[in-house]
């Protein structure tokens, strides 16, 4: 497992593939390999990003390593072992086609053990509320990169409140133009300054 974590941290995709096969060959269950190997490795990558030792390109490559590992482990997952720490619904708001930040957040959330439903980009308030009714998530994450699309977050939160889905739901928002003051003003519970911090906030909410 140390080797797998090391390969993730070193962004060594071939090494990750090999280490995943090794753990399976040694009889280590796939879910344990994911939790203690891939996810822990990605967490360490996130720490390096926060410490400015790693850059966005490194995060993207770590995500690729994670995907390659999952490709090997997923078919061997025993359904009874699969339990998420919580459900997160995520999407980029209406009028905005940016998905890089949202995708990185989703990657870190999945690595942290969340079940993530990604609604994609250009998601209308109605599409968010429909999905909230359907998936009943613990957390809603909204992303916007443009000052012109930021107000859609407030519109969506108002719509969620209007139809009575706000109670018990945590809302986190993220995106370059956002500030904690803006988050507070529109009624979000938190603003993630980057993907790693955003995933950390979600994890802290559900571990309470």
């Amino acid at each position: 497992m140390d080797k797998l974590r090391e390969c993730v941290v070193n962004l060594d995709i071939a090494g990750v593939q090999e280490a995943c096969k090794d753990t399976l060959a040694h009889g280590i269950p796939a879910y344990k390999t994911i939790v203690d190997g891939l996810s822990k490795g990605l967490e360490m990558v996130g720490q390096k990003y926060e410490a400015r030792e790693y850059y966005l390109a490194d995060l993207m490559l770590a995500g690729e390593a994670m995907k390659e590992g999952m490709r090997i482990l997923q078919p061997r997952l025993d359904k009874k072992d699969v339990s998420s720490i919580g459900r997160v619904l995520i999407g980029t708001v209406r009028g905005d086609l940016h998905d890089l930040g949202k995708n990185v957040v989703a990657m870190f959330l999945e690595a942290a053990g969340f079940e993530v439903t990604d609604l994609g980009v250009d998601v209308s308030p109605e599409a968010f509320t429909d999905a909230l009714s359907h998936y009943k998530p613990h957390i809603l994450g909204m992303s916007a990169l443009l000052t012109t699309t930021m107000p859609e977050m407030q519109t969506t939160i108002k719509e969620i409140e209007r139809i009575g889905l706000r109670s018990g739901l945590k809302i986190i928002i993220g995106g370059a133009p956002l500030s904690p003051e803006y988050g507070e003003m529109i009624g979000a519970d938190a603003v993630g300054k980057d993907a790693v911090e955003g995933a950390g906030i979600c994890k802290a909410w559900l571990s309470r």
Binding site: L56, A57, D58, L97, L100, A176, P177
Partner: protein
């Protein structure tokens, strides 16, 4: 001083008559709002889907720089596949199929990038990077080089004229289908990335030679290198993969003593040293939110770099007149000492700024921007 003399002095870090002014990047919706607030209709973006301030707009707000855009695409035929009121799905001149907003300024969503593998680049792009295609040194507005040279001289009576083009990294994002795909490709195959950047840089450099022959005053390279958190690539990887490509593009201008401006969003602090070594003499737009502190940059790099930008669009949007005045005064005081500063907003001018506030901001630039600077 006229605009051309002023900007030449500023880019050479000499004290001009006043600070420069250059806000030309807008959101499309900004013009829509301002027209309803009384902005003359003639002031607009270059095209409906390209809200870069047109010539009447440059004159109206008193901008100092005119950008001649070079067509550096592989010149694929653009095809609209599907068009609605708000968006369209189209193949662009770079050969990638993407979904874009027609009514808003936003990055497109790539549906089918033109390259996914190194072989795609060799087959679909490399043969089309033909710098001798006469339309590149002209655009459809000036079909012959002598016409471009004549137009350039005409614009130089009013403005400092630079050739504008995207840099090798931004170019690669158009080919690979956006930032994420490009970063993954770069990280997975650094040898190919290095080849691709150098091939694009060589092509851009040759296109620049044509503009230099026509008498252009400098280069403005648009090549985003960073997010809010920091550069996309580590400083080491930037130095290895992109710095040589930037050097190649800067070189013909450097040789002639002409300025090289880099536009890049994001936090560039960890790579500024490399950018200077690559040959850039000015940085734009210095985003406040990304930690591009104009005062700190002036102190650290003021001898080598001209600073362009830094006016906080958030303050211009939501600040009261006193706060806007304070923003303009403090930034000019911090960055304008002994020249080396061109006022510009720190990102595209958003529609959250009213025309009244924007006019007030421009007035403050005139009020505080003359040398000797008011404290």
């Amino acid at each position: 001083m006229d605009s051309r003399e002023r900007i030449a002095a500023i880019l050479n870090r000499q004290e001009p008559d006043r600070v420069g002014f250059q806000d030309s990047d807008f959101f499309a919706d900004t013009f829509e709002r301002w027209h309803s607030e009384g902005l003359p209709r003639a002031v607009d973006g270059i095209k409906p889907n390209w809200p870069w301030l047109n010539v009447p707009g440059l004159r109206y707000f008193g901008n100092d720089i005119y950008v001649v855009w070079a067509d550096i695409s592989p010149r694929y035929d653009a095809i609209d596949y599907e068009v609605s009121e708000d968006w369209c799905i189209a193949k662009d001149e770079f050969g990638s199929t993407k979904k874009s907003w027609t009514t808003k300024s936003a990055s497109p969503q790539y549906l089918e990038p033109v390259i996914r593998t190194p072989q795609d680049f060799t087959e679909k792009i490399d043969p089309l990077l033909d710098h001798e295609d006469m339309r590149r040194v002209s655009s459809s507005h000036y079909p012959f080089k002598h016409e471009l040279a004549r137009a350039m001289r005409r614009f130089q009576r009013e403005f400092f004229v630079v050739v504008g083009m995207v840099g090798p990294f931004e170019y690669a994002t158009y080919l690979c289908g956006g930032l994420a795909a490009t970063l993954i490709l770069v990280m997975k195959n650094q040898d190919f990335a290095s080849y691709m950047f150098s091939r694009i840089a060589d092509f851009l450099c040759r296109v620049c030679e044509g503009y230099l022959e026509a008498g252009v005053d400098g280069l403005w390279l648009f090549d985003d290198q960073g997010s809010q958190d920091g550069p996309f690539l580590s400083p080491k990887l930037y130095a290895k993969l992109l710095k040589p490509a930037h050097e190649v593009i800067c070189e013909p201008f450097r040789r002639r003593g002409l300025p090289r401006i880099l536009h890049s969003d994001g936090n560039l602090n960890p790579i500024i040293f490399h950018l200077i070594e690559a040959g850039f003499v000015a940085l734009h737009p210095l985003q406040n939110k990304a930690g591009m502190d104009i005062k700190g940059l002036k102190e650290k790099y003021g001898r080598e770099l001209t600073l362009i930008g830094g006016m906080d669009t958030h303050i211009l949007s939501s600040g009261d007149p006193h706060e806007i005045e304070d923003e303009v005064r403090s930034k000019i005081t911090a960055a304008g000492q002994e020249g080396g500063y061109i006022v510009a907003s720190d990102g595209p001018v958003p529609p959250t700024i009213s025309l009244e506030k924007y006019r007030f901001y421009v007035e403050q630039v005139r009020k505080y921007g003359s040398y000797p600077l008011k404290a």
